[in-house]
Every structure is written in structure tokens, then in C-alpha cells.
Amino acid sequence: MTAFPHIQIQEEDFDLTTEAARLREGHKDIGAVVTFVGTVRDINEGDEVSILELEHYPGMTEKALEKIRLEAHDRWHLESSRIIHRVGKMYPCDQIVMVAVASRHRENAFYAAHFIMDYLKTNAPFWKKETLPDGSERWVDARISDKEAEQRWAS
């Protein structure tokens, strides 16, 4: 049992329908549910990727994600939100991360989910390592475009 029930860091895959139902549980005044799922692409930086391994910093991860989540609630008056991030070994097409938000109206839900993902990308302590078909490994570099995406939300 985590101290942050709306955040899950797990090795197992997740099911979108189940998670959307949990998100809505106990909230009647919801008109809009937006989910984002990030998946493993089979190509990165022009190279085929065989395995993607996710490492994280237990403790700091949950704290960073909860901070992002509460900031989104603050800005967009969400009814509910959930973040799931997988760690360990994943393969092309696998689900890596889910952000799900529920609000009365769609505009807030779209902005909040987008905001959470942009902040997660630059503020949550996860690191990706790729294994190429020849067995070589490399750490994925942070993207400048992710930092720029985050900065657009500065108020």
C-alpha cells in the first residue's frame, strides 16, 4: 500500500478500462475523462530498439508525481486523477505510462493531462536504457524539446 493511492509505480502492465473505472469511482459529477498512454516505440534516434529498461528513484518518484498531480488539480479543478508508471524491462508496443484525469468539462481535462505528462517528462526521476538488436545498451538522452514543452506551462 503506497502513501499516494493515486500514483502507482509497478512492473506489471495496466488495463485502461480498469484504470478509467477506478478514476471515476465515487465521483458522479464527471463529464470528461482524458487518458494518455505512452508506449515503447520500436525506433529511437534512427535505431531499432529491442528492449527498453526503466529505472527510477523509489520515494522521490512518488513524491515528484504527487506534486505534479496536485498542481494539476489546483490549476484545473479536476474531480480525480491517476498516474501509473511502469519500471523494469519493456518491449516495443508495450505501455509505459498512463495519466488519466476526470473533470466536469473537457477543456480542463485535456490541459491537465497534457500538463501532467509534460512535467512528468522533466521532473519525475525515471531513466530509460535501450538495448539495440546487436545487444548493445545505451542510456536515452533527455530531450531539449521536453524541457521546452514544460516551460510553456509556466504561469
Partner: protein
């Protein structure tokens, strides 16, 4: 004691994921200087690397952040999750 953690490429380059060190440093910067004395890979990773990220007790920190006995200090590269 200080609990010092290294993640991702830092863990691999430095050859360890965590260690306990005596709480004899006032700031993260002092700790970094001491660690850099261990050799070239330590110096490059912790002093010369513009991308070094620092957390103290799970919060983002910097070289000026003060530290005390019982603190958890982590060093890692820019994050790439999501």
C-alpha cells in the same frame, strides 16, 4: 551518516548505487568535492558534468543545499521517463 545514492548512468560509471558516508559535510558542494577526489571518473561525473542533477531527501537540490546527518543525497543524470 549520510545516505548517498547514484542512479542510471551515474551508478554504472561510478560502480555503485549507494553508500553511507560520515556526516562531515555542510553542503552538497562540499560532499561533491570530497567525492571528486576519488579519481577521474568521479571528477568528471560529479564536478565537470553540466548535467548533474541533485536531490536531497527526495527534493530537487543544488550545490548550495545544506546537509546534515541522516539526509539522503542522490546524484543522477537528467530524467527521461514518460
Amino acid at each position: 551518516m549520510l545516505n548517498v545514492l547514484y542512479f542510471a548512468s551515474f551508478r554504472e560509471i561510478l560502480g555503485k548505487g549507494n553508500e553511507q558516508l560520515p556526516a562531515q559535510f555542510n553542503t552538497v558542494g562540499c560532499l561533491l568535492n570530497a567525492l571528486a577526489d576519488r579519481g577521474e571518473s568521479w571528477q568528471q561525473a560529479l564536478l565537470e558534468n553540466q548535467n548533474l542533477q541533485i536531490a536531497v531527501n527526495h527534493d530537487v537540490a543544488n550545490r548550495q543545499t545544506e546537509i546534515k546527518a541522516g539526509d539522503e543525497i542522490a546524484f543522477f543524470p537528467p530524467v527521461t521517463g514518460g
